[in-house]
Structure formats: structure tokens, C-alpha cells
Amino acid sequence: MTEIVLNTGDTAWVLASTALVLLMTPGLALFYGGMVRAKSVLNMMLMSMVTIGIVSVLWVIYGFKLAFGYEANSQWYGEFSLSGLGSAVNELTNNGGDYPIPLLAFAAFQLMFAIITPALISGAIADRTKFTAWAVFVTIWVTVVYFPVAHWVFAFGNKVGDTVTGAGFLAARGVQDFAGGTAVHINAGAAGLAMAIILGRRVGWRRESMRPHSLPLVLIGAGLLWFGWFGFNAGSALGANGTAALALLNTQVATAAAALGWLLVEKIRDGHPTSLGVASGAVAGLVAITPACAFVAPWAAVMIGLIAGILCALAVGLKYLFNFDDSLDVVGVHLVGGLWGCLSLGFFGSSAINSLGLDGLFYGGGATLLGKQAFGAFFVLAYSFIVTLIIGFAIDKTMGLRVKEEAEVSGIDYDQHAETGYELTTSSRGGFSS
């Protein structure tokens, strides 16, 4: 057996990808921040920023081991132990096989996924969530939902020879999810739905249109998400290789097609293609191609993206049908887009494109892969939805989830943070020196 030697090219790409994926969370803060009304822009952005703080700290304490430990040899969780990253400085990565990159690079890369997933949920609960309750929610949610689910999906176990220990439940069953359609997007979308139901609707919902206060911010955020997503998807190859290049190209074309699909729906249905539509369409395409990006041909990526754009543009109307205030369409974009992306592999998956993949329906593989994908997608959906309902209910009954109605109406920014996003006045606020 030859000894694995660190590959500097692979390591450089994973380190760069790690920084790209981190940038997605401030990008998400801008994307969401522009979509809310001016009175709650800071709270919306701070929900993402505090998530970076909380999850990073939890990750080095125990999160990494809970998600990627293998010594307990469990398919449901990693290990209940400290992450111990300080003693792993010279180790290389083994995740269902050897990768010639430092374990710490893998740990840092995966941390960024653990950060953005809870941050995505915040879009469902805009304008009305007590900030301390959000911080407590993120702490509990990543611990009992994200870290275990990441283990199910992303942990391929420690492979020595032919012996694999500690592979995740869905990974071991052959559910294909290259960069996190299940663990990130379905997971966050289902949790967003649960939290929107627990919190209830905003004051004035359906009566006022609650238009985005700054569409330029939304577009900057969407641009940063798109840029960072190359790290998310192509970085998930854990190396600078052909798989990474395929994932990167597919990410680009699927996103482009999805943005066009969403605009098309708006032009036909409402008469106006909107800037919110192009931003949402791009994100829907990014979400849908995430699980599939390394397993499909570029033409299939265009189809997956186009369908995602059209499907999600229609799906954002679900909240009006069922009367839940998923404020910034986490369900319509991430849950629906994530489900479509996971299932799309069952149609477009091609073992000729990626020898690790299986053939889907269109490549003569029958419905086997589609069945696996559906199982994985709905398993994560159900777990995340039910457990999030319990967490949300418990926080609501103890510390309370929601700000007072008058604070919500006058603006959560000033109530929770003693700041306002925009001080666009030249006149005095009055007062006396003290």
C-alpha cells in the first residue's frame, strides 16, 4: 500500500473553496436583508452574522466530531466527543476513501456548510423573531438536526482497505447528494416551514404587499451567493480535478437557466419580469443543481435549472394557498428546489459522466436511483420538520420566540438592536445634553 502524500493543488482548491462558501453567508444576509422592509434590515442580516459566530464555535468544540467522527461506528451520528482538531494538524482526510488534503481543510470546508444551513432558515421568520430566541434556536438546531443529518449524508466513513466504519445512514444507502440538496436545502426548507408555522404570520400579512426595501441589496446578495456557490459545489469534489470542473460548469449553466425560467413565468403571468425574480431564480437554480452537479451532463444541468426556475416561481405561491408566512420564500425556493434537485438525479443521473454515479431513468437505469433519491429527500424533510417543530414549540413556551406586536410594527431593528439601517435625515432628533 502506497502512502498518501498531501497534494498541494487539491489543498489549495479546498482552502479557496472554504473561503468562497463562507462568503455565501454574508451574501445571504444581503439577499435576505434587501428583501425585508427597511425597518428590519439589520435584524435580518444579524441573524446570518450571529449564526457564523455560534456555529463556528460549536464546530471546534464538538460539532465536527458529532457530524464526521467515525469511532462510534454509528450511521446516525459521528461521535459524542470533543472535536479535538488541535491534535489532527498533520492528518489527511479520509471520508469513504483517502483524500490528499489536510483533515483541517476538510473540517473548515464542512464548517461553512454547517453555518449557512441554519442561516437559510432565518428567511422564513423575518421581521418578528426575538434575537436571543434565534441564537438559542441555532445552537439547539445545529446540534440535534444539522450535525446528525450532515453525518447521514456527507459522512462516507473511515475506509481502510475494504473496511468502512461510521458511514452515514443515507450515504451508505447510496442516496446521491453531491453538495447538500438534502442536508442543506431540504433540511433548511423544512425547518423554515416548521418555524413559520410556530411563529405565525406577521402583522399585516396579505393585507400589505411588504415589498423588498432594497432590490439592489438583493441583487448584490444573489451575486455573492452565485460566486460563493462555486466553492460549495465544485469544492465538494475535495480536489482540483475533472469532477470539480464538471460541478463548476453545471452550477453556472443551471443557475443561468433557472434565472431565465423564473423571468419567463413572471413575464407570462404578471407582465413584468422583476429583479426579485431574477435573483430568486438564480438561487433556485443553485439549490437544484447542488445535489446533482457532479453526476449529470451540462445539457441536463440546463434542464434541471430551467425546470427549477419555473417550478420555484410557481411554488412561492404555496404560502398564500396554505396561509403560512414564509416571509422570504425559504420553502418555495430551498425546500421545493432542493426536492427537485434530489429527484432530478433519478432522471438525469449518468454513470458515463461520473463513474461513482448511477444511471437515472433517462439513461436506462430504471427507477432504482429515483427511489433512493425520494427516500433520502423525504426522510430528511420529515426529520427536520418534526424536530424543528418540537424545538420551536419548546423555545416559544419557555423564553418566547416572538417580539411584541408594537415592536414588530414600529420596527424590530430599533427594538432588538437599538439601531436603524438608514439614518437618512438632516434634521435634528432633538434632545438635551446630559
Binding site: R206, R207, E208, S209, R211, R269, D270, T274, L276, G277, A313, L314, V316, G317, Y320
Partner: protein, 112 residues
Amino acid sequence: MKLITAIIKPQKLDAVKEALVSAGITGMTVSEAKGFGRQLGLTEVYRGAAYKVDLIPKIRLEVVVSSKIADKAIKVIADAARTGSIGDGKVWSTSVDSVIRVRTGESGEEAI
């Protein structure tokens, strides 16, 4: 003296301003306002959902004039602000008891 208040469409502000100045009436105060009239606003569609919007953006223009030219001023404003479609607004006048010009201390019609 009369205070004339006009609620007009925002895009008609420049036309009204120029018409008043051409008619020799100088000085005005303009503020952004929102409101509705007889048709109770309109319906708009955004992100696939329809909303009833009743507080429509308007301009409120206020000008104080001598009682002798008040009717003329009202007609000038109404003519300039008219588009013929719904939402053109209203113009009305009220009596003003006293006026003082801050810089010079002049009062009454001298101060207008």
C-alpha cells in the same frame, strides 16, 4: 388671505409649479403625501399575489395668496394638474388669519 392646498399627482408637480410662477404667484411648500379618494386605491400584483393598495403617493402643495387672486390660483393649479384620469386630486382653500415674514417682521399681505 387664503391658504390653498392642492393634492396632485407627483408627476404633475413641475407643471403646476411653472403655471403658478407664470401667473405671478411665487412661494410654495411641497410635501410628499399618501392617500385615497373616491375609488379607494387600486390593486397591484407583486410576486404572484394581488394586493389592494389604498394609500397612493401624492404631492401636497400649499401656497398662501391674497384673497383677490385665490380663485385664479385655484384654477391655474387645477388646469395644470389635470390629466383627465382617475386620481388627479383635489384643490381647496381656507382662510388665513395672519402671516408674518420671519426675516423682516412684515405682516399681513405684505408678508406673502
